[in-house]
Point group: C2
């Protein structure tokens, strides 16, 4: 099960616009030795997420960028190979920020044990992990959905959007998803139970959105920016909330969109409709009952999720490049080593 | 003291851009008779406020527009002439939405009694009225200033901005005002005690703002939009709050500013700095201890205010037109009839 070498993917160059394969480099290095109070873990799944595009750039953000030559950051679930860390033994499954590599070394508090009896271990990177927690805390703290309200969420078949919509349905909202293909929209309506789902690539998207929200929009969960945001803005009701969670439509942009400058439209709407527009990241808020609640919802079958698993660490760059253009369908994962639990 | 006629200024036409004198019309009508449960009041002061530009337009807003031919809306303080309303007697001072006219009729709950012993009656339209209350509740509910933070507020010599900055000083903030002339800035620093005040018409305004906010901006009170907003945006710190109270720089705009579209800059900043941008109007929140607190602050001399009083109802249109271009210096009022208390 252990390889002789540690394959790792480093940032080779800062992308201009859409990342290219040449912005990544696959390197080989010795498998690291865990020091005192550390453990060595074999990566099984690597999570790919839109925030990674931000880490490839040196524009100011909420955390420091990956430096050129450093291993790409990323959440991983893996299995302990050797442990000098109390409480962890070989064979244990753990989730942590292992990065894009075969092996990671974690110190105290850097990784959490995963119970494979609760749900498939891969879910600790999705519905039971950072994306699910993002939806859970963002709705609790900012979105505050209540019965009878209308929620719109884009990237609705993705791990954040699908959880946002499903929780809002539990709360009695009308839930309208936006996604990038007919297949995704069919899944969002048919499997996830959203009231409607619209293809943002359709020429009549703006009209369709208006028709799907006859009472306006009380809660717009912002995952994407771009055309969806522009279509949503005029439909926002008094006291609507806009948790700003992601802006993936703009992550690859190298220049601002053409004019006119629409900033006054946004601020004027904010004033006259008394909107709350609030950015956040998952770590801004305590998880609260997130794990217990979602584990129960999964067991009950009330929450559904979908994974899009690619094989092989070497395919991570292409998968991330595709993610930024909406090519994935469900939570995007890379299987770096076989999953012994499936 | 009573005139034979009721002069009133009606909306003659909806302005295109900057209002013109011809958009208003001075009419004469009989003095109205108060019916059962009503009282007739002689207007002493009429308040002029930036929101009135919105009421002249039929664009969607938080309340209905003034119709062409209707009396312009406005807060007034006046004196009861005849009363069929329990609790009000001739000679009482009252504040209410009397509009741009010599006389107004109020029914039950439409006007409140004013005690001229607390403060000059004109202050019920300013520091002790809607503008002061706007500052008080907006800081309490959205701005939440805390000691050591930096607050920036534009229109700093106006009734809202001056109160925002003074309250934030009580809370231990560094307070930076923005105003439209050297005289206003001198007043804001010297009389109101702000730490700095910058002229937004200065060519180096952006650099001066950056220098005045060495630790960034934690709270930007948005009164104006435009150039001030653009200069503030890159300086906003993590978890900064932006109560959106007014956008007077854009009220007369007939088209959007030239491109590029800067909306992505705003939303990206909102995400990475986890900003809260929230629109509100004064009536969204309970006043709480507003009147007691501010009356005490005035008595103590802790809160200062300045009034810009114009003489004669017929001069109200020109005064409002000037207000929208920052020509007033302090709370803008029109003296419609002599003030018997001064």
């Amino acid at each position: 099960m252990t390889a002789e070498i540690n394959r790792r993917i480093v940032l080779a160059a800062r992308p201009q616009g859409r990342p290219a394969a040449a912005d990544f480099r696959l390197e080989e290095a010795p498998v690291p030795e865990p020091g005192p109070g550390q453990m060595l873990c074999r990566t099984i799944y690597l999570s790919l997420d839109p925030y990674m595009r931000g880490r490839m750039s040196d524009a100011p953000s909420y955390t420091k960028p990956v430096q050129v030559g450093e291993v790409m950051v990323g959440g991983t679930v893996g299995q302990v190979v050797r442990s000098n860390l109390d409480g962890f033994a070989p064979g244990d499954f753990v989730v942590g920020p292992g990065g894009w590599q075969d092996y990671a070394v974690f110190g105290e508090g850097e990784a959490q044990k995963v119970d494979p009896g609760v749900a498939p271990i891969s879910t600790t990177l999705g519905v039971l992990g950072m994306p699910g927690q993002t939806a859970y805390v963002g709705l609790r703290e900012i979105g505050r959905p209540s019965a009878g309200e209308t929620l719109v969420v884009a990237a609705a078949s993705g791990p954040v959007g699908s959880m946002v919509g499903q929780i809002a349905k539990f709360r009695g909202c009308r839930v309208v998803g936006v996604a990038g293909s007919k297949a995704k929209c069919d899944y969002v309506r048919g499997e996830l139970g959203f009231d409607a789902c619209l293809d943002h690539r359709a020429p009549d998207f703006e009209d369709a959105l208006r028709a799907a929200c006859p009472d306006g929009i009380d809660l717009y969960w912002e995952n994407v920016g771009g055309r969806v945001f522009e279509a949503v803005l005029p439909l926002l009701n008094e006291f609507a909330r806009v948790p700003v969670c992601g802006l993936v439509a703009w992550y690859n942009a190298t220049e601002l969109p053409p004019g006119p400058d629409r900033t006054p439209l946004l601020l004027r709407r904010t004033l006259v409709r008394r909107l709350t527009i609030r950015g956040f990241i998952v770590w801004d808020f305590e998880p609260g009952d997130f794990v217990n609640d979602v584990a129960e919802w999964i067991r009950d079958g009330r929450v559904r999720y979908r994974e899009d698993i690619r094989e092989g660490l070497e395919n991570a760059p292409a998968a991330l490049i595709g993610l930024l253009e909406g090519e994935n369908f469900g939570k995007l994962l890379v299987r770096v080593a076989p999953d012994p639990t499936r």
